[in-house]
Point group: C2
Chain length 285, copies 2
């Protein structure tokens, strides 16, 4: 199974919100979809889920076009920041409605999650705080029978304990039944060790589409005297440089393993560091 986004662009007025985006979402992987505010993440998720139309390009699931195809659309699920539910509905009614629509619903997991998050399912959706609205959406997303689950800012308003609880439930349910999760979030550090693949959008373009492990294996922070650090920068991609007095810190991507590093100190970048460097280059000192 594979979900392919092919050459998708979306133009609003004069603005190119998505610009020739192509992504091949593999089956049974956990993806991070990262990007700063305004990068186009939500637009992309809405197009994949047929909630808005692309200006050009298409989205296929197993070779079948997603738009106008109810059978394929039932295999993907997006929990969005927009409130698309009827507002005066109880949580348990929402679960039943979801079961009706998707044909199945994991009630065991839902009840377990309600208990752990201390959420009463006889409450009305519109009476919940931001945090508990997020939790309700998360429960639905983990309990639908779909093969592709898209989570748009799933942890909005969740406290630290609840975020940890969610990450644990996500991993558990993923191991129980492998499927693809695509998680869009601004809290990169917290989620990075759940991710197998990462896609980074900037100004509507895909600028990174890689395995997280591979990526982390070839990104480094070099620090030392300006001359020494500079001598390593020819054969790597320089993501950023900082100079303080006579010393330099450089953020680089590439293969350093075969070179002697002398007095230059080498440390690892984490995904959040990498993201900040690559999406904020104009502001990098």
């Amino acid at each position: 199974m594979s979900l392919k986004v092919e050459e998708v662009s979306k133009i609003y007025g004069k603005r190119n919100v998505l610009d020739h985006v192509s992504i091949d979402f593999e089956s049974k992987k956990i993806y991070g979809l990262l990007g700063n505010n305004g990068a186009g993440k939500s637009t992309l998720l809405n197009i994949i889920n047929n909630r808005i139309f692309s200006t050009v390009g298409k989205v296929d699931l197993n070779g079948e076009k997603i738009s106008d195809n109810e059978k394929t659309l039932n295999k993907i699920y997006l929990t969005s920041e927009d409130n698309l539910y009827p507002s005066k509905i109880k949580i348990k009614s929402l679960f039943k409605l979801t079961e009706k629509f998707y044909g199945e619903f994991n009630w065991d997991l839902a009840n377990h999650m309600l208990l752990e998050f201390e959420l009463d399912s006889s409450k009305y959706l519109n009476k919940l705080s931001t945090g508990y609205r997020s939790i309700t959406k998360l429960i639905v997303a983990l309990c639908v029978p779909c093969e592709y689950i898209f989570l748009d800012e799933p942890i909005l308003g969740l406290d630290a304990n609840h975020r940890e609880l969610f990450y644990n439930f996500l991993l558990e349910t993923y191991q129980d039944r492998l499927r693809t999760f695509v998680i869009s979030t601004h809290l990169i550090e917290e989620i990075s060790n759940l991710l197998e693949k990462v896609i980074i959008l900037e100004s509507g373009k895909v600028i990174v589409d890689e395995n997280v492990e591979d990526l982390m294996d070839e990104t480094y922070i070099l620090s030392g005297s300006i001359d020494e650090v500079e001598s390593f920068l020819d054969h790597v991609q320089v993501l950023g440089k900082e100079i303080l007095g006579g010393s330099m810190t450089a953020y680089v991507k590439g293969n350093l393993s075969r070179k002697s590093l002398g007095n230059v100190k080498v440390s690892r970048m984490n995904l959040q560091d990498y993201f900040k460097k690559i999406t904020n280059r104009k502001k990098a000192k």
Copy 2:
């Protein structure tokens, strides 16, 4: 100037959402208002700002009761997660409306923030993403002439660069004109070095109301052999203990300075660690 919450309780049905809450918000300080989902933070903020009524208790500004007193209410501002604005309004119209209501508006700062956040003020509020809706609310909050500014989850949906930008603007405007900010957030680590005072709510009760610096000066993590660590625990408040094999890690609050610590390793807690320990004791191992 001082804003006093006195013995405020709020009961919904059988649930005591706020339980005899008393807080004295000093003038010209930056407060963190922390608490897990459901602790009562938003209810408290809404009562202080007269959007909902307390079951018992009162809120005074300089000795004057806030409810039914337009003059005192104009001195405090709450930016809330609820969308209380007319939905089909442009950002700049919202700013003008705010100026009319509060008599003043810092247009210089607003324009500077719009520029730095790359937000076009001719956009409609209801067309904005969660992140940009948060940014709009932040601009309004920093530009009103009020003496008490309450920010309820101000950085919902903001990317890392935008969060940093907001923290900088907050500090700048605070230094330009001292007033009280009360910030409710789940991203404690990021904001902790902005805070002078911290209030922690749990199950509707105030469990911490302290200076951040003092608090951080007397919270420690002790690790070593079980016997050695145990010998220090009599005269301090134990927030949590973890045992692994023959060694123990204890999270404590108290004065350790006069004791010899032997082989016990001592390290500092940060505010996020402290928060997690103190609000999650039943789950602590």
